[in-house]
């Protein structure tokens, strides 16, 4: 027994001393790998086309992914707890419908925002209450509400579109901060990203999410109100669906019932690619931030090189699988190394 403890202490010492080990530990972190991939991608595109590394283009490209990147933030909370929400695109469509309809009725911009946020929040709350109240799996419930929310906007809107919006409505989704090349949307995203990073990593609420994701049972026994926390997550997500719907409607100035179709899976992809474990309890906002930029600029760069959109879906699908497979292989490698090190000493 004493021998074993001695052995453990020794190997721990070796581990701590070795700079090489530390480097390996560092470079096998998913966030670091993402940054490396991101840098390589930048170098590659800069080499291939002169239009890539151009500040105006880089900033302009953020219009294409800011909204999805914003939605990925609250989705981190949901996935962190081991839940999932595949109804967000439908909630966005429902909010956008509400906005488009109210705008046609002559509502002002602040009241449009209020309506959108209210509809989104209620839809998210309904998800959360259904899931935790009856103890049903999140994927099944949000599959149903996906059809329900989308169905309401299809039923009410049919094949029509809402295209009349108040004066100045396009500012949020289309314009830049005066005298700069930075879009409002992107600034909003960066601010929200910092806010979510703060909540997740520096507050009790954030730490609770990790606890729930690792073991909901253990979290409950240590006094975390698991159900309430999960309801709050879904409600927050609904709220941000409302915000995103405003931005989206403002950007494209047209609301149809098929708006944002397919966004659910794209946004979940961003979160998982960013290193958040689908079973919960693992991941960082920084990882998702890099993941979102990676996907956004990958699409932009491939577009510049005239790759078809379909090739992008293949690349992103493969990236997603690699993103989950690679850490597993790295873990295996690390475990093997440790075994070998122990055998040597």
């Amino acid at each position: 027994m004493a021998e074993k403890q001695d052995f453990i202490a020794k190997s721990r010492l070796i581990n701590e001393m070795s700079i090489k080990n530390r480097l390996i530990e560092f470079f096998t972190k998913w966030e670091v790998i993402l940054v490396i991939i991101f840098t390589l991608m930048f170098v590659f595109f800069t080499n291939r086309t002169p239009y890539f590394l151009d500040w105006f283009n880089l900033m302009n490209a953020t219009f294409q992914f800011s909204e999805k990147a914003i939605m990925a933030l609250p989705m981190i909370f949901i996935i962190m707890c081991g839940d999932i929400d595949i109804s967000i695109a439908s909630i966005i469509a429902l909010c956008a419908y509400a906005v488009g309809n109210a705008a046609q009725g002559g509502a002002s911009i602040p009241s449009l925002l209020l309506i959108s946020l209210l509809v989104g929040t209620l839809a998210g709350l309904f998800n959360g209450v259904m899931i935790t109240g009856l103890n049903m799996p999140a994927i099944a419930v949000t599959l149903a509400t996906q059809s329900i929310y989308r169905g309401i906007s299809i039923g009410l809107l049919g094949d029509q579109a809402r295209t009349s919006f108040p004066e100045g409505f396009g500012v949020f989704g289309q314009e830049f901060i005066p005298n700069t090349i930075i879009p409002y949307e992107f600034v909003l995203y960066l601010a929200l990203m910092l806010l979510f990073a703060f909540i997740l990593h520096k507050t009790t609420y954030g730490r609770r999410l990790y606890a729930i994701g690792n073991s909901a049972e253990a979290a409950r026994f240590s006094g975390v109100n698991v159900k309430l926390t999960r309801i709050i997550n879904f409600t927050i997500t609904g709220f941000f669906c409302g915000l995103t719907a405003m931005l989206l409607a403002s950007r494209i100035l047209s609301v149809r019932s098929n708006i944002a179709t397919g966004w659910d899976l794209e946004i979940i992809t961003l979160v998982v690619l960013g290193g958040v474990s689908i079973t919960g309890g693992k991941g960082t906002v920084f990882g998702v931030f890099i993941g979102s930029l990676l996907v956004g600029y990958l699409k932009f760069g491939m577009g510049l090189l005239k790759f078809s959109g379909t090739l992008m879906t293949i690349v992103i699908g493969s990236l997603l699988i690699i993103a989950v497979l690679l850490p597993r292989l790295l873990d295996l490698y690390k475990a093997n190394r440790k075994l070998r090190l122990q055998a040597q000493h």
Partner: protein
């Protein structure tokens, strides 16, 4: 209470998901038929069954994946790829018989399912992530294969397009194929060792491993089944709708999952049956076809489907909870 009292038999029957569904189906059919007597005409029934045949084939594949505690989001993309491949083969080699095309579709689907299964079983990637990746990859490959073009009706042979509609004993080939698939997989899940192993893995993977079930093998098998059936569905899809387009069957995975949920398949794995899935598919078909009868525009179809899924889900969960509460009470004596 004696073991075979009629009331207890009735209770037992009502606990069976299949019977409840059948009862619901009848309850649904009565007002519809009163409103529009043609609804139950042989012609209309035949139409509904034919409409639902492809979904029932795909839903059975989905059933096995959900049964093993997974989900297959890639079914729509596999259908698209195989459907496109079959359409293009038919265009370039018109002499190839439709039956061979079905086999080619199944083979391609099998390979795509194999990739899913290997990634899940040996890569240890959760099924939802694996198929979230492959749904994109397979859809992308469909575009690569077709180079963005379509295969239209006049580019395909009449024998291929006519295949699903050709009748034998008054029933279309499409329906015959669906019947065969249902029968084969009913047998598979009730009477074969592998079929029972899927239930075991879904119900309690740890216990299943202790009694010697090879978990990885079962996980690969369920995706093989799903992939192969999607391949079959793809080949039939192109023929039935007489065109192969890149976007075909987008979102079909949700329909298949919906049929399973309606059929009482439990999302936490290990519970459900083929008959339930088939009835769930039928239920969806009747509801969809009944909308015009009750003067509801087709635009409301999505909402109605969503509501039905949510209600079915809640009923499933409540009955499960009641059952486990009863079991617990029994154990306490």
């Amino acid at each position: 209470m004696p073991e075979h009292a009629p009331s207890s038999l009735l209770k037992k029957a009502l606990e069976r998901r299949e019977l409840t569904l059948m009862l619901l189906l009848v309850v649904l059919l009565v007002p519809i038929t009163i409103r529009s007597p043609q609804f139950l005409s042989a012609e209309n029934i035949n139409r509904i069954l034919n409409d639902m045949a492809i979904l029932s084939i795909v839903a059975i594949g989905m059933f096995y994946v959900i049964l093993s505690n997974g989900i297959d989001l890639s079914v729509g993309s596999i259908i698209a790829f195989t459907g496109m491949a079959c359409g293009m083969i038919n265009e370039s080699h018109p002499s190839v018989s439709p039956l061979v095309l079905l086999l080619v579709g199944m083979l391609i689907g099998l390979l795509m399912g194999l990739l899913n299964g290997v990634l899940v079983a040996y890569g240890k990637i959760p099924p939802i992530i694996t198929t979230l990746g492959t749904v994109n990859i397979y859809r992308g490959l469909t575009f690569v294969l077709s180079k963005g073009t379509w295969v239209t009706a006049h580019e395909m042979t009449p024998s291929y397009i006519g295949f699903p509609r050709t009748t034998f004993l008054g029933i279309s080939y499409l329906l015959w194929i669906a019947f065969v698939v249902i029968a084969v997989f009913y047998y598979f899940s009730r009477f074969t060792r592998t079929g029972r192993e899927v239930y075991a893995i879904g119900g309690n993977p740890t216990a299943a491993k202790f009694v010697g079930v090879n978990e990885n093998r079962v996980r690969v098998v369920v995706f093989l089944i799903s992939g192969t059936l999607c391949g079959l569905a793809g080949a039939l899809w192109t023929a039935r709708y007489a065109s192969a387009v890149n976007e075909m069957a987008t979102g079909f995975e949700m329909q298949a999952v919906a049929a399973c949920v309606l059929g009482g398949v439990n999302f936490s794995g290990g519970a459900g049956g083929i008959i339930g899935v088939v009835l769930g598919t039928l239920f969806l078909g009747v509801v969809t076809n009944a909308l015009p009868v009750v003067y509801l525009s087709v635009f409301w179809q999505t909402l109605v489907q969503g509501l039905i899924i949510l209600i079915a889900l809640a009923l499933n969960t409540l009955s499960d909870q009641r059952k486990s509460a009863k079991l617990l009470a029994q154990r306490r004596g």
